[in-house]
């Protein structure tokens, strides 16, 4: 592995660890009307499930809550998450979830984007559908 990527992965791992330590709760919510099963959340974020019925699912990462999410939901570290998506994007031509800075950015995106899904460190406001709470 290249040193540049090692550093990037290490930083991401650190941030995740720190965030997880800080966050007590984690909420996963989607655009209003998207009734995603909690069991499909992992597949959606690893690019395995891209559609719910006719709705294209658009997951986004919340940089602030990502360490907790990777730990609680995907059960993997940031490096694994990154390499998985690197392979996935090369092999299947699928882009990894866009990275949003915080809950507000994620909430704004989900509200605007049909099929949009994201996770929050705090309970999101109205206008989205909470899928699960971790």
């Amino acid at each position: 592995m290249q040193p540049k990527y090692t550093l990037w992965i290490f930083s991401l791992l650190l941030a995740t660890t720190c965030s997880a330590a800080l966050a007590d709760n984690l909420y996963l919510a989607c655009h209003a009307g998207v009734s995603l099963a909690a069991a499909d959340v992992r597949d959606m974020f690893l690019g395995e499930k891209q559609f719910l019925n006719t709705i294209r699912l658009v997951p986004v990462d919340n940089v602030a809550a990502q360490p907790a999410f990777l730990e609680k939901v995907l059960k993997m570290n940031a490096i694994k998450y990154s390499t998985t998506w690197a392979k996935k994007s090369f092999r299947d031509g699928v882009n990894p979830p866009a990275a949003m800075a915080n809950d507000a950015a994620v909430l704004d995106f989900i509200r605007r984007t049909p099929g949009g899904c994201g996770y929050f460190a705090s309970e999101p406001l109205d206008g989205v559908t909470v899928i699960d709470k971790y």
């Binding site: 540049k4 690197a86 090369f90 031509g93």
Partner: protein, 617 residues
């Protein structure tokens, strides 16, 4: 019927062939169109597929590079292959489809090379993903196009299959329809043929029965002779005709000839062999001696039939029992001979009657003339002359004084003169009667000669004046007319002389005058009169003798000239009959007119200017 069936079969053939031919042509055109479409789309799809597959090899290699850290040579080569395939697609005119993909892939090939690291790849991830989408889109597009062509081909094939099925169904329906129609017609024809055959057989049977009945009734036998007389067939009636049992008698040429009368056998055999040899009709007659000894007369009629060259000629004929006919002919011959004899005798009697009648007529005149002459001779004129001569002898000495002084002597010269006058009158009358007598005798002689000439059918026509002939006839009858107070009036036109047999005409006229005198005499009227007229006629002259006598009943008019018919008490019915025959012989005619009883009658004799020569040979 056969022609209709042939037409139906032809139509049936067309009904089967035409739909199939049309469908085959359409199928061939569709196949060609599908083949052309597939030939175009399939290579493009293969190129797109290869481009896509190689790109996926490349992306898999890129994914593997996440673990290995470097991009493998195979992946790079796959990327170049992708670029090459896309370039080839673009070269085939598919730039619109492959343009963006080709650009992206070409840019990747320019950046990435063998041994490229993950650090080289990651910055290119977006472009790689874009290339993945674009190459997939290219592959999908050509797959879609190819599928469209394939689906079109499949749809066309299905349509074609339906068309074939439809054509086959139509063909089957038409076949069934035509088969049913043909079958019905053939069935009808067969039924008609069978019915006709039955009728023909029934008719044949009827004909056979009729033929059998007819031949049996006609006592006719049928035979057929084949193979130059070696093979002979007889019908049952033939056996009956020859009185031979069909079970015992086997007809052969030899056995047949053995049944024929020996005197006729050779002629019969000759007739048969001749007909067979010359293939001509056979007509022969012979006698057959039956087992009981009776003789049967057979008439054989046959003809040669030639069915085929191989079979040879056949003599098919019929034998008729003509015994009755032959015997009848024999009886008829004898009867005719008897009739001829009787006719000859009757003719002789008729001739004798005719002669006697005509001579009788003339003999009347002869008797009258002879009576007149006798009367004249019997008159005492010679006695007076003798007395005068005696007186003169007594007074021979004083003859002068006696004549001048004696009272008787003075009357003697006047007496002698008167006596001389009477004697001369007697002489003249006697001479006239003698002349009439001579003519009558001459006529009798002619009658006899004429009757003799009848037998020879010759006569002596001569040119004569009708008026003179009528005068002769009147003179021969004048005595009778005078005695019975019948006046005679003549009314003669100027007519030419005619050439005719004199005594035949004279005979007719005498007969007619005598009949007229009789009719007047029988009527009892005072003004008895006969008018004799001579006039020109279209083809000659006509002589009519009209009387005002008793006339003729209408019902007798048609019988007047019939032999034996007469209204006279002592008549024979011969005169008018012979007169009519004589007139016909002369080329003329004799007819009668009468207004009825009490109104007299008119007999008219028409004569040509010249009698037919044929009558006189």
């Amino acid at each position: 019927m056969k022609r209709t069936t042939d037409k139906l079969v032809a139509l049936q053939f067309l009904a089967v062939v035409l739909p199939i031919a049309v469908v085959l042509l359409v199928q061939m055109a569709a196949d060609a169109r599908r083949a052309a479409g597939l030939e175009h789309s399939r290579p493009l799809r293969l190129l797109a597929y290869e481009a896509r597959a190689n790109y996926k090899t490349f992306t898999n290699g890129a994914a593997d590079a996440v673990d290995t850290g470097t991009l493998g040579a195979q992946s790079v080569e796959a990327l170049h292959t992708t670029a090459a395939r896309l370039a080839e697609l673009a070269a085939r005119g598919e730039t619109a489809v492959v343009g963006d993909a080709a650009v992206v892939v070409r840019s990747l090939t320019a950046t990435l090379s063998k041994g490229a690291t993950l650090n080289d790849l990651m910055p290119m991830r977006a472009r790689i993903i874009e290339g993945d989408k674009l190459t997939k889109a290219v592959d999908d597009e050509f797959e879609r196009q190819d599928e469209f062509v394939v689906k079109d081909a499949i749809a066309s094939a299905i349509l074609q299959k339906r068309a074939v099925s439809g054509a086959l169904v139509i063909t089957a329906i038409l076949t069934v329809v035509f088969v049913l129609a043909t079958r019905r017609r053939i069935k009808a024809r067969l039924e008609a043929d069978i019915a006709k055959e039955r009728e023909r057989r029934a008719e044949l049977e009827t004909i056979s029965i009729r033929f059998g009945v007819a031949t049996r009734a006609a006592r006719a036998g049928v035979y057929e002779l084949k193979r130059d007389g070696l093979d002979l067939w007889w019908s049952d009636t033939m056996h009956e005709l020859y009185a031979q049992s069909p079970q015992e008698f086997r007809p052969t040429m030899a056995s047949w000839l053995a049944l024929i009368h020996p005197d006729d056998r050779e002629a019969a055999q000759s007739a048969i062999t001749g007909a067979m040899r010359e293939q001509s009709q056979l007509r022969s007659q012979y006698r057959v001696v039956r087992p009981d000894g009776s003789v049967c007369h057979i008439a054989s009629l046959a003809a040669v039939a030639m069915d085929s060259v191989d079979a040879g000629p056949r003599l098919v004929g019929i034998d008729l029992d003509i015994t009755d006919r032959v015997e009848a002919e024999e009886r008829e011959r004898k009867l005719q001979q008897q009739l001829r004899d009787a006719s000859r005798q009757a003719g002789m009697a008729e001739i004798a009657t005719n002669v006697l009648h005509n001579i009788g007529n003339v003999l009347n005149s002869v008797n009258i003339s002879a009576s007149l002459v006798t009367d004249r001779v019997k008159k005492p004129r010679a006695a007076g002359l003798g007395k005068a001569v005696a007186l003169l002898q007594q007074h021979a000495a004083d003859l002068g004084a006696f004549v001048t002084t004696d009272e008787r002597g003075k009357h003697l010269p006047a007496y002698l003169a008167q006596l001389t006058e009477h004697l001369m009158l007697d002489q003249r009358v006697a001479l006239e009667e003698l002349e009439s007598l001579r003519k009558s005798i001459d006529h009798i002689k002619e009658i006899v000669a004429m009757q003799q000439s009848y037998s020879k059918l010759v006569g002596v026509p001569e040119r004569l004046a009708i008026a003179a002939l009528i005068d002769d006839a009147l003179r021969m009858n004048i005595g009778a007319f005078t005695r019975h107070g019948v006046g005679v009036k003549c009314d003669f036109e100027e007519v030419p002389e005619i050439v005719v047999e004199k005594h035949k005409v004279l005979q007719i006229l005498i007969n007619l005058l005598r009949n007229a005198k009789y009719a007047c005499e029988t009527s009892g009227r005072m003004d008895k009169q006969v008018v004799v007229r001579v006039a020109n006629h279209a083809q000659g002259v006509q002589i009519s003798i009209a009387d005002n006598g008793i006339g003729i009943k209408p019902e007798h008019m048609t019988r007047m000239f019939t032999h034996g018919f007469t209204t006279k008490k002592d008549g024979h019915g011969f005169g008018l009959h012979s007169g009519a025959l004589a007139a016909r012989d002369l080329g003329g005619a004799l007819r009668v007119d009468s207004a009825g009883p009490g109104f007299g009658a008119t007999f008219t004799l028409e004569l040509p200017l010249k009698s037919p020569e044929t009558v006189y040979g």
